[in-house]
């Protein structure tokens, strides 16, 4: 301690200690890197690249600037108070003519149609007759389709000329840009995403709560039974992992449907009337039951891994100090399991808000999750920008959950056994 802290330590031959240390560990570092390299490369290609691609797609807006490039440059400096001049109409006619020849107006018309319904047919109808158009283009274009005479159409083209857009994100939460560029709610009958986000969140919360309620006692048993019994119990907990997710989900259909096992038993026992069979599947209840079952191990395992580290002597100490059984549990055991509850909770919640197959199969119309709409926009409506925006919002929710969890509890508490 007497040496001045400024002088770096040196090895016997005068090499600074840090340099020497770095040299000695370099080999093992390289070896470690090589061991993880295949996985890193795989993750980069199969996870990181698609992730950034998706994030990019949610704001990417190339259609107008590419396919209406002449129009966009002609609109530069246009004040938007009255219809643009003849040059802009001429440029539009030229752009459409070229697009018609190269047959690539589809993306453009879909893109503009998201913002202003009717634009698809406007563009395709105009493009079909673009060769017959003659100057002055302003008059002839409006004659072909009077949408071109609306100020909003031109404002839209000018706005969407930007290479980036937030309109996918707005659409993902049931908002849109008005022609004047203000953020407004979409008409009542078109609102769907906000409801779905909300439903996904609260149903995930319910599922998380149910897995905790069911999993806590099991984890406690696992952690406190003698090894011979707890091993058997652990196998039972892990058994679902050995069965296909699809099989488990469809089994729930067989059990819960109105002609299913559970209803039949209840009718046979006279608990319910034959004509008043319970609707337990293809609704929220079905989704909650099936997902609680499927996600249960993800709650039990982190809980178990925390409970295993709590020595039984804590409870004994609390009892010997005069604590009644429940009070001892509440004051001593339970607080020590909070990291496990949080770890299991965050795991189940995050898995749950991103779950797809089960809600799709047993959720019916009312029990669907936001993920089902991501799939819908990917596969059916082909609005990938919107799908990407919804998925990104989901990702942000997960990241926020993770950050809060890491701040409060520490991510190192998430252990599966």
């Amino acid at each position: 301690m007497s040496e001045s802290p400024a002088a770096p330590l040196r090895t016997a031959d005068g090499v600074p200690l840090k340099v020497s240390l770095r040299r000695t560990v370099r080999r093992s570092k390289i070896k470690a890197l090589l061991l993880v390299a295949p996985l890193l490369i795989f993750l980069f290609i199969a996870f990181l690249m698609p992730l950034f691609e998706m994030l990019w797609r949610s704001v990417d807006n190339p259609e107008v600037s590419t396919h209406l490039s002449r129009t966009v440059s002609a609109l530069e400096g246009w004040n938007g108070e009255s219809l643009p001049d003849e040059a802009a109409f001429a440029a539009l006619a030229e752009d459409l003519r070229e697009g018609q020849q190269e047959r690539n107006l589809g993306l453009l018309s879909s893109r503009l149609n998201y913002e202003k319904s009717g634009m698809r047919s406007t563009i395709s109808r105009t493009a079909r007759r673009v060769d017959t158009l003659e100057p002055p283009y302003r008059a002839s274009l409006i004659e072909v389709n009077d949408t071109w005479g609306e100020l909003d159409t031109w404002k839209l083209i000018q706005r969407e000329a930007s290479p980036y857009t937030i309109s996918y994100y707005l659409a993902a939460v049931d908002l849109q840009l008005s022609p004047d560029g203000e953020i407004v709610k979409v008409p009542e009958h078109m609102r769907i995403h906000a409801t779905l986000f909300w439903r996904t969140l609260w149903m995930s919360a319910v599922i998380t709560g149910l897995t905790l309620l069911l999993g806590y006692p099991v984890a406690f048993l696992l952690a406190s039974l003698p090894a011979r019994h707890s091993n058997l119990l652990m196998i039972l907990v892990l058994l679902p992992f050995w069965t296909s997710l699809l099989v488990r989900t469809t089994t729930w259909i067989a059990i819960l449907q109105s002609q299913g096992v559970l209803n039949d038993v209840m009718v046979a026992l006279g608990l319910i009337a034959d004509e008043a069979r319970w609707q337990m599947i293809h609704n929220k209840l079905g989704t909650i039951i099936a997902m609680t079952h499927i996600l249960l191990p993800f709650m039990i395992l982190p809980l178990y891994s925390v409970m295993k580290t709590i020595p039984p002597s804590y409870m004994r100490a609390a009892r010997s100090l005069g604590g009644k059984p429940f009070l001892s549990f509440r004051r001593v055991y339970f607080p020590l399991t909070i990291p496990g509850i949080a770890a299991g909770g965050i795991l189940v919640f995050i898995l749950s808000i991103g779950y797809y197959i089960t809600p799709a199969l047993v959720g019916g119309q009312s029990g669907r999750f936001i993920t089902n709409y991501i799939a819908y926009h990917m596969q059916t409506s082909l609005n990938w920008g919107l799908a990407a925006a919804i998925a990104s919002i989901l990702l942000f929710v997960v990241i926020i959950c993770y950050l809060v969890f890491n701040r409060l509890i520490g991510v190192d508490k998430v252990k599966l056994g």
Partner: protein, 379 residues
């Protein structure tokens, strides 16, 4: 908080008057699997204010006895009485017994003061009383400054003292300790032994202490029950156990001893003559032997064997020629391993006093011991 140590520990033999017993084990048996008995017929009377140690190797059933007293295990047979009341049906939290666990079992999510307050809060004391008692308990273990710390921020010795304070803060009349010093290093362990002893003397509480460390047991206890194989081998005061072990296990387990195997060939009044397997004949004090012809183990403490220098030869009734095998120098004394009476591992402990000559391996010496120090025990 009265000084009751004075009357405790003075009487040596266990009293038969049940009324003066504070805690009793009566013919207690315990089996976990229905096949083997972990505790076989354990009876023990503990007087108020007494410090009783259950000493034995691991797996001898001593901790099980403690857990039955605390209420965490149920006796398979027999009864445990506390102040003449059977307590088998009483759950642990109603027994009012303080307990110190092997790894302290301090609640890690509570501060030291909160740990100490726990037993008081569950007894619904008011805030002022709790604070007063907690402060007093912290002062008793000299940790006044540490009330706001978490157990993990304390050293092992400090945690130990907190555990002790927590077991005492609600003023139980009986405190159980399950190898409380096992996790401490040697110096700290000795310091804590005196600390526990001091607190025991000051508060006059009854303590049952479990350990496998014989030094600890000898230093602290009024009486020691030596356990082996689920049975109490001997129950006696420390000096009694060391000086007059009643069987070979106790002699072997408490302190060091030299063992010679042989068979009884003659009874001579208070003594007996034993023919060793090597053919030598030794005069010994019969403690636990049968008639002529029965096998016996002679137990002899190393410090009770003298090296003879010719002049004082007549004072021992056992004298043999021994060959020095090894001499270990230990500062204040010398440990000499010799071969005598067919035993190559015969240890002599001689003080490093003036005039004790240096011995060399291979040297022939004369050794002798008194028949009173040579106890003939079970084989």
């Amino acid at each position: 908080m009265n000084e009751t140590l004075a009357d405790a520990g003075v009487e040596t033999a266990a009293t038969t008057e049940t009324s003066s017993c504070f805690a009793r084990f009566v013919n207690v048996q315990k089996s976990y699997d229905g096949v083997e008995l972990v505790v076989k017929d354990f009876s023990l009377d503990i007087r108020k204010g007494e410090f009783v140690t259950l000493l034995g190797p691991s797996g001898s059933g001593k901790t099980t006895c403690l857990m039955m007293m605390a209420g965490f295990e149920t006796p398979t047979h027999g009864e445990i009485l506390l102040k003449d009341e059977p307590i088998s049906g009483l759950p642990p939290h109603k027994r009012g017994i303080g307990m110190v666990f092997q790894n302290y079992a301090l609640f890690p999510h509570m501060t030291v003061a909160e740990n100490l307050a726990f037993p008081l809060e569950v007894r619904h004391l008011n805030k002022a009383q709790i604070k007063e008692k907690v402060d007093k308990a912290l002062a008793m273990v000299r940790l006044e400054e540490f009330g706001d710390r978490r157990p993990a921020q304390l050293s092992g010795g400090q945690q130990q003292r907190v555990a002790l304070a927590r077991a005492l803060v609600f003023e139980p009349e009986l405190v159980l300790m399950d190898e409380p010093l096992g996790a401490l290093d040697k110096n700290l362990r000795e310091e804590m032994q005196y600390e526990i002893k001091r607190i025991h003397a000051r508060l006059g509480v009854t303590m049952i202490y479990v350990t496998h460390d014989q030094t600890e047991a000898l230093t602290m206890s009024d009486r020691i029950a030596v356990f082996n194989d689920g049975i109490v081998q001997q129950l006696a005061s420390p000096d009694e156990l060391y000086e007059r072990p009643e069987n070979a296990f106790v002699a072997y387990f408490i302190g060091e001893n030299n063992r010679l195997q042989g068979e009884v060939c003659e009874h001579l009044g208070d003594d007996c003559k034993v023919r060793l397997d090597s053919g030598d004949t030794v005069i010994a004090k019969p403690v636990a032997v049968g008639g002529v012809g029965s096998r016996t183990t002679l137990s002899l403490r190393p410090e009770r064997v003298s090296i003879l220098r010719g002049d004082a030869a007549e004072q021992f009734d056992n004298q043999f020629t021994a060959t020095v095998q090894e001499v270990i120098y230990l500062g204040d004394h010398l440990r000499t391993r010799v071969a005598v009476c067919g035993n190559d591992d015969f240890i002599l402990k001689t003080p490093n006093a003036q005039g004790v000559g240096v011995m060399r391996p291979g040297q022939q010496i004369q050794v002798g011991w008194s028949s009173a120090d040579c106890r003939a025990l079970d084989a």
